[in-house]
């Protein structure tokens, strides 16, 4: 049994992002007390087969969490209305530099995939 197996599933280890579930509503960014989430997005029109009009969806360009500032309170995970953020019991992301603790979309998404 590895250490990760013994850690409860919802432990405040790392925050995983599901970019497809995120609507860029900015709620987590505004509620984060540490101001450590940054988000940029743009709108795109998608036409679905059978739909009368195209739909406007928000597409993420940037979504970063700076774990050097994050205090692991979990407010972002709790306030997200679309369940786009979730705790994962992974702790193995120490870094020798401050910038190494800033994780972008790819890295944040990889945590979810690892645990699925």
């Amino acid at each position: 049994m590895t250490t990760v197996d013994r850690i409860p599933a919802q432990s405040h280890g790392v925050i995983a992002l599901s970019a497809s579930a995120c609507t860029s509503c900015m709620i987590c960014v505004r509620e984060c007390p540490a101001w450590c989430i940054e988000l940029e997005s743009h709108d795109e029109e998608v036409t679905e087969p059978g739909a009368r009009r195209p739909r406007t969806v928000s597409v993420l360009d940037v979504f970063t969490i700076d774990y050097g500032l994050c205090m692991y309170c979990g407010i972002c995970v709790d306030v997200c209305p679309f369940d786009a953020l979730a705790w994962q019991p992974d702790f193995d992301y120490a870094s020798g530099s401050a910038t190494g603790l800033v994780q972008g979309i790819n890295e944040l998404e990889s945590w979810g995939k690892v645990r699925e």
Binding site: M26, R30, E31, C32, W35, I37, E38
Partner: protein, 144 residues
């Protein structure tokens, strides 16, 4: 959680210890509606029960009785609470700050204290089409 009169704060903890609550867990403070409240928790290792007590801090004196004689483990927490909230603990012999190099300036965890980082870093949640005041800043907060 039980609120006690601040006058009886130290007595309450002496009584709890005599009832088997030997384990000191934590002590800290919080501020709600401009009122400072001290909160502490102790536990009974035999029965696994715990008691969490709160007491409003007298705004004039801004001091509380120390419980560090009863629970020496509280020394560190009372030092931290002094440093961060500016509350002094009567009877705490060693009140040296833990983190702050100097006790000049406002205690950083008071809601009225503006953190330097809040001035220097732009709020990432600022809407593009209107100005919004972030939560956790004073009313006259001004981004530098």
């Amino acid at each position: 959680m039980r609120e006690v009169d601040q006058v009886f704060w130290a007595d309450e903890f002496r009584a709890l210890q005599s009832q088997g609550y030997f384990f000191f867990d934590f002590l800290t403070a919080y501020e709600r509606d401009s009122q400072l409240v001290v909160i502490a928790r102790v536990a009974n290792p035999e029965t696994k029960q715990s008691q969490m007590l709160t007491a409003k801090v007298d705004a004039q004196q801004n001091s509380m009785a120390s419980i560090s004689v009863t629970y020496p483990g509280a020394i560190w927490h009372e030092r931290e609470t002094t440093e961060m909230f500016g509350i002094s603990f009567v009877g705490l012999e060693d009140a040296r700050p833990l983190l702050r190099r100097s006790m000049l300036g406002r205690p950083p965890l008071l809601k009225s204290s503006v953190l330097a980082a809040r001035m220097l870093k732009p709020w990432p949640g600022q809407p593009s089409h209107r100005k919004q005041q972030p939560v956790g800043v004073v009313d006259d907060w001004l981004q530098l």
